[in-house]
């Protein structure tokens, strides 16, 4: 039997991988994938808490999170396409039209 701590540490590590990827990657798609990793890290911790607490609530939250993540992906990619049509680049460093 693997204890709860292993799951929690795994999920925290995954979450930190996502945070690190978001902060260091400059390509918008890669940043977006990093956010997905963060969300799935949370899902992992929710499922394991749910299992060890013998309570269904955590599993239910995971379903909601997956749904919202799908909606988020749809909107994020739509915004990216709108941007790409106007300037054909997916690099965040080039997004500096407004400053001050």
């Amino acid at each position: 039997m693997v204890s709860l701590q292993w799951y929690v540490w795994l999920s925290l590590t995954l979450f930190m991988v996502g945070v690190f990827g978001f902060l260091t990657r400059r390509n918008i798609i890669m940043m977006f994938l990093s956010i997905e990793i963060m969300l799935n890290a949370v899902n992992l911790s929710l499922v394991s808490f749910s299992h060890f607490l013998n309570d269904l609530r955590g599993n239910i939250i995971v379903f909601f999170v997956i749904t919202v993540a799908a909606a988020e992906a749809a909107i994020g990619l739509a915004i990216l396409i709108a941007l790409f049509r106007n300037r054909a680049s997916a690099n965040v460093d080039e997004l500096k039209e407004m400053k001050g």
Partner: protein, 477 residues
């Protein structure tokens, strides 16, 4: 098992608004004249505003709380919805973005905020927050031909999604720690088990403060605000400087002061830092701005700092002053953005400070109202902004935060420089080219309404603060 009809009745406002939102999107297919959809949305909002009061109770196993607190915030959201739609009517054709989905998205964003304000469970907080955010991301990028608007939407989206992942991690760890996600249940568990000082609890507290700090644009989670406010269409900027911010505060009231209420000493310190930084950075960086939308963005960061004083003071007194301030902020900020929007006409951007030079010569009434809003944002009597700050500062002093109030007063004095500079440009400079103004009746209605509200609350301030205080009855603090 309580009767399902009674529970749905409590959710009435949200359900009606959702029906109208879908209706607007469907009608968009057959209706060519898009202003019909705008009036339909306003009618829905007004209908809900007049029928929603008096609902009391919990629905769906404590997921949804219909109480005075939520209804007061609903009032703020619906007011800002109506005013922003009025402002949009003539603006959208000028920007060539006159699509019906705009109003549908505004309605969906408002439903998200209403769900957030009435959430009884952390899942509802998350779902409401996402419904609101996803709609507002799209609205921010609504001018899809404009690279600035694209850039605003993408920045808002990226950082917003990043922040909501942190919120989710906080929810997950709260669940793991307490075994429940119900807000009152979490508070009960913390109290019963004496979890004060628990490191996991402290960790989740930091995650919550970061996630909600992002939504209210408090420093150091404010980086997105100036760019997004500048790039988004002006009525959307007006809407999101008020609605999502108020919704963020509503959730702070629910999650921090109720769920984490038993360990309030752990988050009060964090909020004090956020509040001081927001007031300082917002007011000082606003001084050097030449774009008025950007200046108002920094001003909105500073106002989040002021409103946080109410949460820090805590108790019914502090929360009531925070709610009252957010309502007043709705009127004065949307009023100021209405003036900015009215200056946008074919071929004239009207966003630069120099566009305000000598405005009073050509448009005396518009300038007088802008003067009123600027005075109110500074906090000069007899305007509403003064009374709002007055109640906030009284609450903070009564709670023993005299030094914090002194800082806030000094920061408001600094803010006078950039607010009154607009007034100086309008009244003491000679006009360069004549700046035309949109001939928008709806925009004028919004302007008159906000102007009267700012003046009326300024001379007769007790009404709303009493309303906020009585709304907090049975809130559980």
């Amino acid at each position: 098992m309580p009767d399902i009809g009674a529970q749905l009745w409590l959710l009435g406002p949200e359900i009606v608004l959702a029906v109208f939102a879908f209706g607007v999107i469907l009608l968009d297919l057959v209706i060519k004249e898009k202003s019909v959809l705008a009036y339909l949305s306003i009618a829905a909002a007004l209908f809900i505003m007049f029928t929603m009061f008096g609902r009391q109770g919990t629905a769906f196993g404590g997921m949804f709380l219909a109480d005075g607190y939520g209804l007061f915030f609903n009032f703020i959201f619906l007011t800002s919805l109506c005013l922003s739609i009025l402002v949009s009517l003539k603006y959208l054709p000028v920007e060539r973005i006159n699509f019906g989905e705009y109003y549908g998205l505004m309605l969906f964003a408002t439903i998200g905020m209403m769900v957030m304000a009435s959430a009884g469970d952390l899942i509802m907080v998350y779902l409401g927050l996402e419904l609101m955010s996803l709609s507002v991301y799209v609205l921010a990028g609504f001018m899809r031909q404009s690279t600035r608007s694209n850039e605003a939407a993408l920045k808002y989206f990226m950082l917003g999604a990043f922040a909501s992942a942190f919120l989710l991690l906080g929810i997950s760890f709260t669940y793991g720690l307490t075994g429940t996600t119900q807000i009152s249940g979490v508070a009960q568990y913390i109290k019963d088990n004496g979890l004060a000082g628990n490191p996991v609890l402290a960790f989740t507290t930091i995650l919550y403060v970061a996630a909600f700090g992002f939504k209210i644009a408090a420093v150091p989670f404010h980086m997105w605000a100036p760019d997004v406010y500048e790039g988004a269409p002006t009525p959307v900027t007006a809407f999101m400087s008020v609605g999502p911010k108020a919704a963020g505060f509503a959730v702070i009231g629910r999650v921090l002061t109720v769920a984490l209420g038993p360990v309030s000493s752990e988050w009060t310190g964090l909020l004090i830092v956020l509040s001081i930084l927001s007031m300082a950075v917002g007011n000082i960086l606003a001084i050097s701005q030449t774009n008025i939308k950007r200046m108002l963005a920094y001003s909105s960061i500073a106002h989040a700092g002021y409103a946080l004083l109410g949460v820090i003071a805590g108790g019914p007194e502090g929360l009531a002053s925070m709610m009252n301030y957010l309502l007043i902020y709705t009127f004065m900020n949307i009023g100021a953005f209405t003036v900015v929007t009215l200056l946008r006409t074919e071929g004239v951007k009207g966003e630069d400070l120099s566009d305000y030079e000598g405005l009073s010569k050509n448009h005396p009434l518009l300038s007088a109202l802008m003067l009123l809003f600027m005075f109110s944002l500074t906090g000069i009597p007899p305007t509403a902004g003064f009374m709002g700050k007055f109640y906030l500062f009284v609450a903070a002093i009564n709670a023993g935060y005299l030094w914090l109030t002194v800082i806030a007063v000094i920061m408001s004095a600094i803010s006078a420089y950039f607010y009154l500079r607009v007034v100086m440009y309008m009244y003491m400079k000679e006009p360069g080219t004549v700046i035309p103004v949109q001939r928008s009746t709806a925009g004028r209605v919004a302007l008159m309404f906000t102007g009267i509200a700012v003046l009326l609350i300024g001379v007769q301030p007790t009404g709303f603060i009493q309303m906020a205080r009585s709304a907090l009855a049975g809130f559980g603090i």
